[in-house]
Amino acid sequence: MARRLLSSLGQFLATLLVATALIFVMLRVMPGDPAVVALGINATPEALAQWRAEYGTDQSLAVQYLQWMGGLVRGDFGMSYVTSQDLSPLIADRVQVTLILVGLSMVVALLVAVPLGVLAAVRHRHPSGVALAGISQVGVAVPNFLVGVLLVAVFAVHLGWFPSGGWVAPADDPVQFLRRLVLPVIALGSVQAAIITRYVRSAVLEIMREDFLRTARAKGLTKGAALVRHGLRNAGVPVVTIVGVQLAAMLIGSVVIERVFVIPGLGSLLVDSVGNRDLLAVQAIVAVLVLLVIVINLLVDLAYTVLDPRLRKAA
């Protein structure tokens, strides 16, 4: 167990190192001189030179990379070329927003999807099960931004039940915070719920064919009880996989929903920074997103170990 953890951690760090190098190189190819972008159109050559010296963009790439990495290790993303603001607090803010949005949506999705998926599997021959499977299939096919746009049109604009978007920090006003989250979480969560329902259904269907479930029934459990006691945890492994994959995809995929609901998340910041050619910001955001994805993958790996004793090394 400890060794597995250690090797997971080692892999994690190596992945991170290579990934950051990749990000750095990739973004150096980006067109547009950051100095010109930052200073605007009529800046004098001296001003540009001064700016470059100040921000270190006149240094060699290797030096720039090392400086950047040095900052990363200290949790310092540097200063935005465009806004001249410290990126670290800004990104920290945005990460928080995205994590809340994505996390909450996933929780909601799981709360809906697990029971529905199990139901759809157990009743896979009944009309209700078939209907559930069909609904989830359609749900997967609907783009979440369409759901978002429709939710706004109906519940915010027409009925006025919820705000059409925006973000209020939970500490500032918990009630507003929650009210504003309702629609985006539904938009993001409902499509996720459809995806996860499909996976839960097929995982449970597969588990229902397993011998040990028959054993459990032979012990005197009814079908349902056998499934609950013995099946669900086993079905957990593929579900954890898909939850990990979806979480990783949502971190960036939520940008569309952030746009629809005017939520200042990390993805929106990325798109804005790309538009502003805020090189350092883009670099930092991509690094953070990649870090989060890697962390999710690591957690998924650990979750397997917790769920499945076969993956644990003998002590």
Binding site: G32, A38, G40, I41, V157, G166, V274
Partner: protein, 480 residues
Amino acid sequence: AGSSSGGSDAPSDAVVIGLTGEPVNLDFTTTSGAAIPQVVMNNVYEGLVTIDQEGELQPQLAESWAVSEDGTVYDFALHDGVTFSDGEDFTAADAVFSIERVQSDAWLNGTKSKMDVVESVEAVSDTELRVTLSRPSNAWLFDMGTYVGAMFSETGVDDLATKPIGTGPYTVESFVSGDRITLAGRDDYWGEEPDITDVTLRYFADAVASTNALRSGDVDMVYNMQAPDLMGQFESDEAFQVIEGTSNGEILLSMNNTVAPFDDVRVRQAVMYAIDRRAVIDAAWAGYGTEIGAMVAPTDPYYEDLTDLYPYDPEKARELLAEAGAENISITFDVPTRPYATAVSEIVVSQLAEVGIDASIQSSEFPAVWLDKVFTQADYQMSVILAVEARDVLATFNNPDYYIGYDNSKIADQVIAADSGTPEEYVSGMKEVVRTITEDAASDVLFLFPNLVVAKAELGGIAANAVTESLVLSGLTWTD
């Protein structure tokens, strides 16, 4: 910062305004773009003079001023008892500092050239300021009413990007990038204190989101609304008022005069004939907008209706193209990623196709890519942009190094003569200049951009005419 939920239950001294196009920071001395002065001018910063809703010069920090006979010496009498938001007194010394700062290296914004005519500035006393110009200029005092003329505190320029300090009625309370800026009214404002003391400017990445927020009561006013097709829905709704203000912004179909095929005046003229500007306004901007024919807003003193110069005439366009040997040409069309630009571009492409110009759209992210590629490097053939600055016809065409690349040899002397002449000579001279530019089809001004404002019916005092970049907040008030 988060309590500004707006809506009917909002306190009567608060207002939430929805905007699109967020400033990246608040320092217009180093960063270009209209978004910054929109927030801070007249609200946080003030100038010696200001420009009112009708486009007229009005005193602001200067009580009055006198101009010498030869038009080169301006004597300003400044208000007494004006303080900056950091508590410092505003004196003539600050004015000297501010004007000289524009000329120094600290000011990086390109508009600093507007201060080039200033030869010297001196503080005669705490409330007396003398500015000497190198030559008479009709334009200079007007420019002093824009953000070039903003008055800074000598001790308050350390962190312009996030903490602007001015003499205006508001201070910036918070700036949540990607979301909102909040302004708070000052208790110690020297002038009349505004009714609304709690202003939240919320920024929306797209126009529909901002109107949705208005409908759902999250914002009280959407200023410079970018989804004109939604106007109809608001017009028919009692709860809202819809104002079509004027602006100084022209939608300019820029043609690069230095590269083929637009280095040929006939091709440029063909484009002018090929485009049905009324149809462009109708399709791209739901009919809101005014044909003006040249890059001069009707609020400018030297405005002249030139819309008849190039009527919609595709036949003529084809003839001109044939004459220029430019039949069935292909061009690239760099379109900045702004709603008006994408909307305009689609119909322009379609109309150009009618006369045998195959324009392929290339999207340029705005501002960064567009500024870099089109504006700075002039690496483009055709583009479209909303030119928002006031009285910018000369900035655009009287400079062969500008991205338009218009050959200004014909107008350069006329311009100096007009600027240095009497106000009457100024007006007639400028009309002449503008006519020349238009006849040369330097670029096509598609229409004057409307400043569409939608607000709750009870909100009064909306400064709907965007004569300068500034959005004046101090007049706002709830009317019931």
